[in-house]
């Protein structure tokens, strides 16, 4: 999932650099407030551990191919999100410099895609909620798999967005997503199992390690986070799969408008604020009408002649559902963090 410089534009690379730099500075600031000074050598050595562990290939059952550990979730479980993010970032820097694994301009993108989603989204909102710092085997397994899958799906989707936005590769959005997401779903599941295996091994040998380590996120309102995680899971499920079952027939409002005026939508006024806003919406909508933009005349014609089928596994709908779900999740996560910080300041 490491992006190369050859496929991104300076605008996209630069923007992600700014975001990543901000996250690094913020994490560093948070760590300064951390009273546990032993965390600093621990981060360094754990970074080296992740690097070394990634060099050990394991064979994936039933496929005959081999894979290696990502490690974001293990780091987050042992160090908490801020330290884990910095550790992952440092590993990615060394990989980019010494192994040409990812470009220098793309480093901002890579740190964001592989660090942000696992440490600041998947870990606190999914892993922490399901497994906490407890020892329940099944919880740890479920938490590892779900958080690894979520982190990788979001990261892979980010790669697609950044590549398409750069405009160097001609791969269309739809094809690219169809290539990336399923592969990373499989990778995520394997990664989840391996992560669970390592954590359970450590738990059996040295149970106090995880209890002492899982600091960093201070859970105050557990109910809010449970709700967020539940919503996230529901959004992903709904957007990804259930959207196929969305009826292709007009909904209630469109049906009644059709009955009264003879068309499904009311004609908008041609001038004024309404039309300029409508024009703005048309140009900015990535997924107009929950599908892909009709690239050329033939697409539009094909769509028009299509019979309304059910279930309607339209790639566009499902993808826009997933995209919408992912964006909502990210937005929800951001709002959650903003709330935490403002509440923390008020104390």
């Amino acid at each position: 999932m490491h992006m190369a410089d050859a496929l991104i534009s300076p605008e996209v690379g630069g923007a992600m650099w700014v975001v990543t730099a901000g996250l690094v500075a913020w994490s560093a600031k948070k760590l300064k407030e951390d009273p546990d000074e032993g965390r600093i050598p621990l981060m360094g050595v754990l970074g080296a551990f992740i690097f070394a562990a990634q060099m050990i290939n394991f064979s994936i059952p039933a496929t005959g191919s081999s894979g290696h550990l990502g490690g974001g979730m293990i780091l987050a479980a042992l160090l908490g999100p801020y330290a884990a993010f910095l550790t992952l970032a440092s590993v990615l820097v060394v990989q980019a410099l010494f192994f040409a694994d990812g470009g220098l301009l793309a480093l901002g993108c890579n740190i964001f895609n592989m660090g942000f989603f696992s440490c600041f989204v998947a870990y606190p909102l999914i892993y922490r909620l399901i497994a906490g710092t407890g020892r329940n085997r099944n919880r740890i397994l479920a938490a590892s798999v779900l958080s690894s899958v979520a982190g990788l799906q979001l990261g892979a989707f980010s790669v697609v967005l950044q590549t398409v936005a750069s405009g160097i590769s001609e791969l269309p959005f739809g094809t690219f997503v169809m290539l990336m997401q399923p592969i990373h779903l499989a990778i995520g599941i394997v990664e989840g199992f391996v992560t669970a295996g390592v954590i359970l091994f450590v738990l059996k040998a040295r149970p106090e390690v995880l209890e002492a380590a899982g600091g960093g996120t201070r859970l105050r309102g557990v109910s809010l986070r449970t709700v967020l995680a539940g919503l996230a899971a529901a959004a992903i499920l709904t957007g990804g799969v259930l959207s196929w079952f969305a009826s292709a027939y007009p909904d209630g409002l469109e049906w009644s408008i059709a009955k009264t005026t003879g068309s499904e939508e009311l004609a908008a006024p041609g001038t004024g604020l309404h039309s300029s806003l409508a024009g703005l919406q048309e140009t900015t909508a990535i997924l107009p009408d929950y599908g892909f933009r009709a690239g050329s005349g033939d697409d539009g014609a094909a769509e028009a002649s299509e019979e309304a089928a059910w279930p309607n596994p339209d790639m566009g709908t499902s993808l826009s559902g997933l995209a919408g779900g992912a964006m909502t999740l990210a937005l929800a996560g951001l709002i959650g963090f903003a709330l935490r910080r403002s509440a923390g300041a008020r104390k």
Binding site: G38, G44, V45, G47, A52, I56, F58, L86, V94, D101
Partner: protein
């Protein structure tokens, strides 16, 4: 990361070896080299997707650095090509999706897709070679110091230095574990099973945690109080480093905004 542990470790060792050498390029302030590398990558990636010929003058930078620093071109080439396969794979979709004809050379018609594919190859080669040269001509600890002086948070720089220090150590341990496993598994080289990996990684992790504890103890014994203090032996010489930065920066700007290949062919044609 692809490849066996041995190969990765030797790649690291080779980089360390080369960076320790002395010379014109090695002696430059790391900040100047970092900035020039970044300017180079930004300039190269800022061209439109069909540009190929205007990227060519940029090859002067890796060529000059390779020549001046004493690194063998073969080595630079080898490390540059590691990253190539995946980029090529993605790039090959371009001719598939973009079929508008752009250029005609005699009987050959090149579509936009092929032009952008060649552009991707050129970009990849240029960007990666610049990074490779940076790493082969700069000691990693000096690189970290340079980053810290340029404003990167100290916690992160210290993290990089720790990672570097313990990477070789831990990779060596991992290598010994894998070798022991291979010797006991009748030469089955398809990698360890998932369950075995979990125990290998798990015990490596436990040893890592113990080591971290010992390192922390050693730091405390030497007076570590949570505050990170760094020695700063870097000195930026305007005549040497400033000139390096200005000269190359200026060259990249010229290459970016002036169509040198066209000028050259025009002058030669006349």
């Amino acid at each position: 990361m692809s490849g066996s542990i041995e190969r990765n470790l030797s790649a690291l060792a080779e980089a360390v070896d080369h960076s320790q050498a002395s010379g014109l390029v090695h002696g430059l302030d790391p900040r100047a080299k970092i900035l020039v590398t970044l300017l180079f990558v930004i300039a190269v990636t800022s061209f439109g997707k069909y540009e190929v010929s205007r990227l060519m003058p940029f090859a002067l930078y890796p060529a000059v650095l390779t020549g001046l620093s004493g690194v063998s071109p073969g080595r630079v080439l080898k490390r540059t090509l590691i990253a190539a396969p995946f980029v090529l794979f993605v790039g090959l979709f371009n001719p598939l999706f973009d079929r508008t004809p752009l250029l005609r050379i005699g009987p050959l018609v090149l579509t936009g897709g092929w032009m952008s594919f060649f552009s991707i190859i050129a970009r990849s080669f240029l960007a990666v070679s610049a990074a490779v040269l940076l790493v082969l001509t700069t000691r990693f600890d000096l690189l970290c110091l340079g980053l810290e002086r340029m404003g990167i948070p100290r916690v992160f720089v210290v993290q990089l230095q720790f990672l570097w220090r313990y990477l070789v150590l831990l990779a060596g341990e991992a290598q010994r574990m894998v070798r022991a496993h291979t010797l006991r598994s009748w030469g089955n080289r398809s990698g360890v099973s998932l369950k075995t990996f979990a125990s290998l990684a798990g015990s490596l992790l436990l040893r890592t945690l113990d080591r971290a504890g010992r390192v922390y103890g050693a730091m405390k014994a030497r007076g570590f109080d949570g505050e990170i203090r760094m020695l700063r032996p870097l000195s930026f010489s305007l005549s040497r480093d400033g000139l390096f930065l200005l000269a190359w920066g200026g060259y990249f700007l010229v290459c970016r905004f002036v169509n040198l290949p066209e000028l050259l062919s025009g002058a030669v044609g006349r």
